[in-house]
Amino acid sequence: MSVRTVALCGNPNVGKSTLFNALTGQNQHTGNWPGKTVELAQGSYEYKGKAYELVDLPGTYSLASSSKEEEVAAQFIELGEAVCTVVVCDATCLERTLHLALQVLSLTQRVVVCVNLMNEARREGIELDIAALQRELGVLTVATSADAREGIAALCEAVRTVCDGFAPPRKREESLPDAEQNARRIALRAEQIAGAVTVNGADAKRKFTQKLDAVLLHRRFGYLVMLLLLMAVFWLTIAGANYPSMGLQWCFDRLGDLLWRGARALGLPTILCRALLDGVYATVGRVVSVMLPPMAIFFPLFTVLEDFGYLPRVAFLLDHPYQRAGACGKQSLTACMGFGCNCVGVIGCRIIDSPRERFIAILTNAFVPCNGRFPGLIFLITMSGFSSFLGAGMLTACVVLAVLMTLLASKLLSKTLLKGESSSFILELPPYRRPRIGQILLRSLRERTGIVLLRALVWAAPAGLIIWLLANIELSGMNLLQHAAQILNSPAMLIGLNGAVLLAFILGSPANELVLPILMIILTHSSGFIAGDSAAMREILLQNGWTWQLSLCTIVFFLFHWPCTTTLMTIKKETRSRKWTAWGFLLPTAFGIVLCALLAGLLRLL
């Protein structure tokens, strides 16, 4: 049985990924911001005994190949890789999304036009005559609401018909040789078709979106609202994560006890048990219990904002400062992704068209703290005894500092290594949509939290073993960790840290969430991770002469130091250059060293 390849293409924000999921069942991330899908996601499904391979082409506005994604999409369709191309249009915004359909129709006739988001259009009082649209376009046209799984069967049937060799009777849309003339023709043709098939038009101004924008994008309060929203997200994360974290740690400890007993009963050699349980198991347990609760709260909240359509508004509000830094406003979107995970942020930089600005965005992504660093930052802030409200304020200040440094670094780059002016910027602001809470929970837990956690575990397990070895090999009365910390002490002092903290940062390179647990091992001279909640951790730090000055420098270094190894590997993959990867390492590190040295000097003066 041969597999039939079907391409899925459409503008950003038309629910293409939801459709993809509905068809293939493979859950792929969907987002409410332009240009989200950057790699070719594939999935398969069966229909009436035939196997179909669905290729999710990047969301593009046109096939004019002015960006990486458009090039990919255009090539895929032009080269005839697919037996059938499904073009997804947005029922709430038909005219606009018909542009792409018309472009595709001028390349191939083996097309199914899928008008998605029908339920949303109904809610807005829009009524479309799909039969008339099919007559106008001359190809099979189906109406769907992918999120409610409406019309999926009809879509499968239409795809089957085309794959079975159904040839539309009408000749393809003509394509004019002059690209500009062609764009004009398509715009007019889309206007004519949309006018002909729209029974009831939209409330053209989108009152709800307008009203909300009046608040969220307010001249004076827009930034304030943005900061408050950010603070709210952090506050919920901090306030909500504490108890589940403690509970998880308790569970891991109990399970660890059981494992120990089991291992003893089996008569396994003690040294092996200790390496596996005190080393690998304890590290993994620690990482999970520190990371999981904040992520399980942060990612869904973040996804709500994304699904709602707020994130492009952030790009709108922040474009001006980025423009002045010689960068692209969309960089604020990739920075937002970076809050979740810097790797995701670095990959997301593909939405930036200009290569110069894309490189700036890639190199500065690690300037925003990722989810691996948040728990550490939160701990360092809360250990100073701030209330969760004040703590959220402090954390927001950290984020503001991170964004300011991103701008400064971007400016530096566009004045030196990546010289140039900020290029043009076009951003679509989708109408606000009611976030689909159930889907969001499932999606963000499974895809974001799951993936990040899995990656952390993959790194945490071997790192746990190495750290255990370092903590257990003794030379002249001190273990290797202590030796290393001693050696690092004097350089670390220059930047207001101490040897133990710097060593924890170095050993924590595989995953930033390891930094604090490692620090605990070094400070307690223990041979493995010690059980304990944040109160116990605080106690350990204080016993070791921890000061608020040290806290402050550690927070700054937490914000600005080398990206984790996974992010570095992602930078290498995205830039395809060792030189830029090296810069990706050096830039945040240099910022961290300079800032910490300045801060340490200032603190000494006080």
Binding site: Y61, R184, E191, H320
Partner: protein, 75 residues
């Protein structure tokens, strides 16, 4: 003739000439912003740049610098 950047919030105009060059010109045309398109200036960012315009059923933010090369006729 005015340019797009001279439209105040809430004002509308009909595009008469697009004097942009290069990639941005293609992108603007691809969005359906062509001669004869009605454009409404919806909202300016706090700093006055970029500006959200409404045309062909969509909200698009453009930078002031680019808007200076799009000529419109007041309605």
């Amino acid at each position: 003739m005015l340019t797009l950047r001279e439209l105040a919030e809430g004002e509308a105009g009909i595009v008469r000439r697009i004097a942009l060059q290069g990639a941005i010109r293609r992108r603007v045309l691809d969005l359906g912003l062509i001669e004869g398109t009605k454009v409404v200036c919806l909202r300016k960012a706090p700093s006055g740049d970029p500006v959200i315009y409404f045309f062909r059923g969509t909200m698009i933010a453009l930078r002031r610098a680019d808007c200076g090369s799009i000529f419109v006729e007041g309605e």
